[in-house]
Symmetry: C2
Subunit: 85 residues, 2 copies
């Protein structure tokens, strides 16, 4: 097995992992138990992973972090929009 | 700058990102807005990233995912313990 496939599967899980929080946030419109700072720190971290992945030309890192960045931005937005619910 | 340093900084942010959720969970004992499936998927993903990092011998991937795994296990435990709060 090409080792890159393992990285892509790993990236699939960590990226898609954000989706349940997005769905739950949209459905319940309640996000107050979710830590705002988690998503601020994760946003910074994922942006840096994306840059790191681009520099070392690692496709799993680039693909999963690009997708994660979209998801984290969505969760962060929901957390801010529903902050008083 | 050694490119590994960028990876370590990236890993620092995505790993430490879980800490605010751990603190918030312990303090409020409320986790019901936190999606259980997010942490189940993330747990699987981070375990695979750790294996991937070990195989490609990437220190930033190994270090950050080892730390993240401890954090995700803690959040997952809090989420299960406080599921009815």
């Amino acid at each position: 097995m090409d080792i890159k496939i393992l990285g892509l599967i790993a990236g699939f899980f960590t990226s898609v992992g954000f989706v349940p929080q997005i769905i739950k946030g949209f459905k319940t419109k309640k996000m107050k138990d979710v830590a705002l700072w988690q998503y601020i720190l994760t946003f910074i971290g994922i942006t840096l992973w994306l840059i790191y992945g681009a520099i070392i030309k690692d496709i799993p890192l680039i693909a999963s972090n690009a997708f994660s960045l979209v998801c984290v931005t969505t969760v962060l937005s929901l957390r801010i929009i529903y902050r008083n619910n």
